[in-house]
Symmetry: C2
Subunit: 467 residues, 2 copies
């Protein structure tokens, strides 16, 4: 084609790189196609070749992992107290969110949660005493994830705390999570003080026994089915749990009435659940934990089974790399901040709740919950776009969790670290944001991107193992 012909024919643009150039072409009437290209991620020079060479083995391992994840049958089977049921829990153990961390590296809200937990346990009378004990070396800190548990935000679990027990009946494994405290001044956002302690005591002495009796009465509750319904009702079960909470409430209320002889307690428990649309979060999390834990230790698999943040580090674990954690600094979310707060007040990303994204829910299913995107200034189309992007980095689609706006397509499930690295496209997570100082609480919420660091490290580690 001669230059003359080129410029007299209608312009047809294929754009690589900055997307605004494509948009400018379109604005001026020239059709343009965007090639979704990003610069390569820095990994070890030999990793890509090794993983390409081992592709068949990886695919086979991933198929096995995906089948385990998609076939999981997580059910609520009961409640108990942490010390009775969580493996390895001692009187000196405090579990926390995210990858392993020592007291000296803990962020403000996690320290606040630890101190609140020690006061709640009666191990300290004041926050000053609690801080002394917390930093004394007497307390053994360990990730929830290493004890079959998960916890939102600071993720603190102390021995006396009641926990939900979720069993993956198909594979027999179990996951635990504390009960959601509601909003306001709460331990999981690092708040402490009498209000926090009293609520935790009420949860231990009233909420827990009432719920325990009700669940024993109702029998196992199929949480996978319940989440599937909640996705048809505008939840993505991470930052929006109104439908999940409603459906759980419907399932539990008759059993609460049938088993609780103290009318005031029954009413108080119903009102407590009714007053907190995040109540279900502490069940969607162990649902994903129980589902993904069954897929651990499948040699060669490049699928993530954990994404978790301790407020200092962001950690990832793969099905194919055993108990290794791959970490990088957690980032401060670009969020919508509550009045009076800015990004400068925010703690870096924190909590085990990214287990929902790891399980194909949360940010991955956000097209089902456009209200969340609207809350942070976006549109329904943005929500659909986020979910569409996540299909790019996942190995499959849920057979049970569907997105109405995408004609009930299964949610993108099973993060493949190869796709994350090779496409330079990280998972999106929709999350709450904690104040960076202990004792303040939530300051915002938003849709954040995971850092690439942990995925790049996991990619190299998998290549080393498969070399």
């Amino acid at each position: 084609m001669s230059i003359q012909k080129l410029f007299s024919a209608p312009l047809q643009v294929v754009n690589v790189g900055i997307e605004s150039f494509k948009e400018a072409c379109e604005k001026n009437g020239a059709p343009a196609v965007q090639v979704d290209w990003r610069p390569p991620v820095e990994v070890a020079p030999e990793s890509e070749a090794i993983l390409a060479k081992r592709a068949a083995k990886i695919e086979k391992a991933n198929q096995k992992v995906m089948e385990i994840i998609l076939a999981g049958t997580p059910k609520l089977v009961g409640l108990d107290v942490a010390r009775n049921v969580i493996p390895g829990m001692t009187e000196d153990t405090i579990l926390h969110a995210g990858p392993p961390i020592t007291w000296d590296r803990m962020c403000g809200p996690m320290r606040g949660g630890v101190m609140a937990g020690l006061v709640y346990e009666g191990r300290a009378k004041t926050i000053e005493e609690a801080e002394k004990l917390a930093s004394s070396g007497k307390i053994k800190y360990a990730p929830c994830h290493e004890h079959g548990a998960v916890g939102p935000m600071a993720g603190i679990v102390t021995p006396s705390m009641p926990v939900w027990i979720v069993k993956n009946e198909k594979y027999g494994n179990i996951a635990f999570c504390t009960l959601n405290e509601g909003l306001g001044k709460v331990l999981r956002y690092g708040a402490f003080g009498d209000e926090v302690t009293q609520r935790l005591k009420w949860m231990e002495t009233v909420l827990y026994p009432v719920l325990k009796a009700a669940v024993a009465h109702s029998g196992p509750i199929d949480l996978k089915n319940l989440i599937a319904q909640a996705l048809h009702m505008g939840d993505e079960v991470h930052n929006r749990n109104r439908a999940g909470t409603s459906l759980l409430y419907r399932a539990l209320a008759p059993a609460i009435v049938a088993t609780c002889d103290n009318k005031d307690d029954a009413v108080a428990v119903l009102n407590f659940i009714n007053g907190n649309d995040h109540f279900f979060l502490n069940l969607s999390m162990p649902v994903c934990k129980a589902t993904l834990d069954a897929a651990r230790n499948v040699k060669g698999s490049s699928i993530a089974v954990v994404m978790a943040r301790n407020g200092t580090d962001f950690g990832v674990q793969l099905a194919g790399t055993g108990d290794l954690w791959f970490t990088a600094p957690a980032e401060v979310p670009d969020a919508l901040y509550f009045a009076g707060f800015t990004k400068a007040d925010a703690n870096p990303d924190i909590g085990d709740s990214a287990i929902t994204e790891t399980g194909g829910l949360g940010g991955f299913a956000i097209a089902a919950a456009p209200a969340i995107v609207q809350f942070v200034g976006g549109s329904a189309a943005d929500a659909v776009r986020y979910t569409h992007q996540m299909y790019e980095i996942t190995a499959g689609e849920s057979r049970m969790y569907q997105i109405p706006a995408l004609d009930f397509r299964g949610t993108p499930t099973g993060i493949d670290v190869r796709k994350v690295v090779e496409k330079n496209l990280v998972p999106v997570i929709d999350t709450g944001v904690a104040h960076k100082q202990a004792g303040v609480g939530q300051v915002g919420a938003g849709i954040v991107s995971a850092p690439m660091g942990p995925f790049a490290k996991a990619y190299d580690a998998l290549a080393k193992i498969l070399k």
Copy 2:
């Protein structure tokens, strides 16, 4: 442009009429624009000119009507028994759905409902006795709508039936509706027999007093707010009421526990509501009735305040035409029929539930509830298309009821009969379908179009008044 040039240039098609021609062009790579043109509706020759001449007066009246509709504040304020509260209700009165009708013209399911009602009231021991009484001339039949009430399907209200009381607090008017019986063999679908009678008796003696005490204890429940939430949770509150039922349940359960001293009754009531995701329909209907009734009798207005079907006739009332009914034969829905049933089994469209569409909900808000369209074989895009079409024939948009998939745009509200006729575009209604014989029950569900007849008559009548 020469013929030669025309055929050598890329084809650009503007299509008027059958849409498949446009689609064929597109399939073959030629961009095409569809002009949304339909043949004119048959109305009196002078009507259009009169209404055009009176446009300013009509617009002013419609603005007043829309302000009343959009500003309504429907709240659940209590329950009572029909004979105590429904104006004009006597021991010989039976209310029914749709426009006025006599026994001899009633369809099968409506006759079934009437007979079931007479047995329930103890006015007849057998269905044969009931039929004799029903056709004797002793029973006074009247539309629910003429007594401030609405009823789904057959819409039968007898004196002993408990009713919800919904008050439009802003304007002081009240609407009534019976309690939803659930699925299976139920009076509203024209079923009768011991199972039907016993359930109605249980509703009168257990369900009603428990709910009455609970609502008295909880205080008025803001149903407009509740419906707004339900639309964010996948309901359109006509054929899908899972979220509405869940949120109502959450609001009522603590009050039921607090006020009901008989534990078995409390559990039975909670299980009854929990077992019926349509329970909320009998509240979304009087919400719309109370909202629209406040806008009646605004001279000159072309906005519909009622669409209702009695299974024989489809009736429409306008704000600007007083108590006149405009009717035409109700049509048999093109629905999805349950296994073993076909369109030949179906009764023509029946029920007052089209009051939800009249109020900007139901089929008008179906983009919020793609699950309904999927159920009848359509896609999420179809649901959006139905709602988009309804913006064409409505005068405004709800300020409270929003559709997440349309970036929380207000639902199309206030059917303008001028737009219906002049664009030849009728309202869509998503509805259940009853068997045409008394005593059988539901045979399907689908998305149906209202007949044009009543709108054409209303159009002419408005023109006559404004002449």
